[in-house]
């Protein structure tokens, strides 16, 4: 990857003036991802916050070619763009090396766009899919997705007298993508920008499909002060709630090991979506969440040979 000095000379390929909420973490993810690309990039994006906030006609915040098609087909759409590129390049109509990135939120990736993603990865298109995982349908007003963690209060998994929020644990999409046997799969956090950018850079260098799952704190959905997005993105990593790792050509590698694993309670406490767990009635859910994180973290360490 380019040095820090070189990076400082690169232009941001997303402009200011987009309409994301104050403190929203996805513009950081876009900046870091696009800046990490050595070649020109064409971007596709699923319907959702990112598309809605960056492309209100007649304005666009994108300084690179950008296509939005629909909600569930970011991967299929970019696979078509990439197929066109392969075809036109073979015919000598394009000589530049171009990289392709498809973005989708967790709803557009884990749920409604899952088939489209799985198909595109299986077909082996030379593209990077980045999921900005804010853990619920935030654009439509905080409805639960299969990426929503157990215990979270959302508008369709509300906490109430008989409910502690979402009952189910998250779908582990990163592992599902590992099971696709694609050359590059990774988890990243915008708080650890150097790690995220290095992963994007290497993912784009891979010939074939790559998938990155990036956690994205959401001010409105997670309910915290807008100054705390990066701190939460870091805490997610330090609690091992969101481990940073990569699986390159099937080989697991831990990207970051917290010196001291912070109890998940501290991550949950800072977000009002989990406020109802901090009651005598629901306290045991926090213990269960901690136990699940511990179990998965140990399993990951074993896979990484740590």
């Amino acid at each position: 990857m380019a040095t820090l000095k070189e990076l400082s000379t690169r232009e941001f390929n997303i402009s200011s003036g987009h309409r994301a909420c104050a403190g929203c973490a996805f513009p950081m993810i876009i900046k870091q991802a696009l800046m990490a690309a050595d070649n020109p990039v064409v971007v596709g994006c699923a319907t959702g916050c990112m598309e809605v906030c960056t492309t209100i006609y007649p304005y666009t915040a994108w300084k690179v070619p950008f296509i939005h098609n629909a909600f569930e087909n970011s991967a299929a759409t970019v696979s078509g763009v990439e197929a066109a590129y392969q075809s036109l390049r073979r015919k000598g109509k394009i000589d530049k090396k171009i990289d392709f990135i498809a973005f989708g939120g967790d709803g557009g990736t884990y749920d409604i766009g899952f088939q489209s993603l799985s198909g595109a990865m299986e077909r082996g298109h030379d593209m990077l899919y980045i999921c900005y995982d804010n853990q619920a349908y935030m654009n439509t007003g905080i409805q639960r997705s299969s990426a929503t963690p157990r215990g979270a209060n959302t508008t369709t998994s509300p906490a109430g007298k008989e409910s502690f929020g979402k009952k189910q644990y998250r779908k582990d999409l990163t592992e599902v993508m590992v099971a696709h046997g694609i050359p590059f799969v990774a988890q990243a956090s915008p708080a650890m920008w150097s790690d995220l950018m290095s992963k994007v850079n290497r993912a784009l260098a891979v010939e074939g499909p790559a998938f990155m799952n990036v956690i994205q704190p959401c001010v409105l959905g997670w309910k915290y002060d807008s100054s705390q997005s990066v701190a939460l993105a870091k805490l997610a990593v330090d609690t091992c709630y969101w481990p940073l790792y990569e699986v390159v050509e099937g080989k697991y590698k831990l990207s970051y090991k917290p010196k001291e694993k912070v109890p998940v309670r501290e991550f949950l406490q800072k977000q009002d979506r989990f406020r109802h767990l901090f009651t005598p009635k629901n306290e045991h859910i926090i213990d269960e969440i901690q136990a699940e994180i511990d179990r998965k973290w140990e399993a990951l360490l074993a896979k990484c040979g740590e």
């Binding site: 209100i56 296509i67 939005h68 299929a76 066109a84 036109l88």
Partner: protein, 393 residues
């Protein structure tokens, strides 16, 4: 010199696709379209065409990838039938609004349910308001010719709309007939080099495609889309004229068969036109002034032209191979009757829904329609608007 061959409709369309050399084909198999994808995959595998074949995991992704490829600046195609078209639905509308000149053969099949694999027009009739040009074919020759013409129509700068070319499932898609195809070089010249407008892959001139378009601009964009459809009519006729010079085969918005002096007329689309022509010939021998209007272009709908062609007859029967479930009639009838509104002493007009789910339509059925029309013409009125033809009820 054209080449005489024996081909099924699916083979003819796959051959047209090979000759047109699309940059990208993204497709998913569905009966009765499957053969098109299979045959074309074989062409790619044998190096007979230099196309990037994207074997997607669903029709939704087929249309999504085709949109991506077309937006990227490629000549992109797909093909489908029935439920496949239904699964594409959302993106079918988006393709039109993005003004992408995609050509899509649709092999007509009954839309589920109940599930059925045979021909009716419920699939494409459902997509009639999606903003696609729709061209129907009577036989494999027309499916081939229409596919070649559709590309020139869709890519015309005054149009830039996607186009569906339909043929009746099994009846055309799987039946072999003797037909003429062009030499590869002639097709190459006919389709020419594609120069896309503002392609996504022009990284030096970045464009944003598919932005959020709210109340301050959305209506202007839909208005432009509507205008493109209006403009397409002249382009369709011009392309047909050029195609006639190339092949000697003439096409219009519709075909008039023995219509000039007809007293009773049937309006029909697709393969049933062939059966109906046989009946018209028989009736003419018996001295009945029977005529036929075979609709070729359903979108844009040639309302004025239809009115002019039918205004002199005494009674008209529209034959609908799908139902609207609007408790009145099938979709083609609604449009034809609307076209006839305002015609002075307009002919009586009735609808026959027929051939649903592949129900066979025979010359006897059509003879009955003409018999009914003779009766209606004599009395100057019809007792009922809608008849289901060949149904047990």
């Amino acid at each position: 010199m054209s080449i005489r061959v024996a081909k099924t409709g699916n083979e003819a369309v796959a051959e047209a696709m090979r000759q047109m050399r699309p940059d990208v084909v993204a497709a998913y198999p569905i009966t009765p379209q499957t053969e098109i994808v299979q045959i074309f995959s074989g062409f790619v595998a044998d190096g007979l065409v230099d196309t990037e074949m994207v074997t997607v995991e669903s029709e939704h992704s087929a249309m999504s990838a085709t949109v991506g490829a077309a937006a990227a600046g490629a000549r992109a195609m797909t093909a489908t039938s029935a439920n496949g078209l239904a699964l594409m639905w959302e993106i079918v509308y988006i393709a039109a609004s993005m003004r992408l000149p995609i050509v899509m053969p649709v092999v007509n099949r009954a839309l589920s349910g109940p599930i059925n694999i045979h021909c009716d027009h419920s699939d494409t009739m459902g997509a009639r308001d999606s903003g696609w040009i729709q061209i129907f074919s009577e036989n494999a020759q027309e499916a081939y010719d229409n596919t070649l013409q559709a590309l020139r129509i869709a890519e015309n700068p005054n149009v830039l709309l996607p186009a569906m070319v339909t043929m009746d499932g099994f009846i055309i898609s799987h039946a072999m007939e003797v037909m003429e195809i062009l030499e590869d070089e002639k097709v190459r010249e006919w389709v020419g080099e594609y120069v896309p407008e503002n392609p996504l892959l022009d990284v030096d001139n970045p464009v944003t495609i598919g932005p959020l378009d709210l109340y301050d601009w959305n209506m202007e964009h839909k208005r432009q889309q509507a205008e493109a459809m209006v403009q397409s009519k002249a382009v369709i006729l011009k392309v047909a004229e050029d195609y006639a010079k190339l092949t000697g085969r003439r096409y219009g918005l519709f075909e008039e068969y023995m219509l000039e002096d007809a007293e009773v007329a049937v309006v029909v689309l697709g393969s049933t036109a062939g059966t109906a022509k046989v009946v018209v010939n028989e009736l003419r021998k018996q001295g009945v002034k029977a005529g036929l209007l075979k609709l070729r272009v359903f979108r844009p709908f040639p309302a004025e032209e239809i009115a002019a062609a039918l205004k002199h007859v005494k009674a008209i029967a529209v034959m609908d191979r799908s139902d609207s479930f609007n408790a009145i009639s099938g979709p083609v009838f609604a449009e034809v009757r609307s076209a006839m509104y305002g015609v002075q002493s307009a002919p009586a007009i009735v609808d026959y829904i027929y051939g649903i789910g592949g129900r066979d339509v025979t010359p006897e059925h059509i003879r009955k329609v003409y018999d009914d029309l003779a009766n209606i013409a004599a009395r100057g009125k019809a007792d009922r608007i809608l008849t289901y033809l060949g149904v047990r009820e």
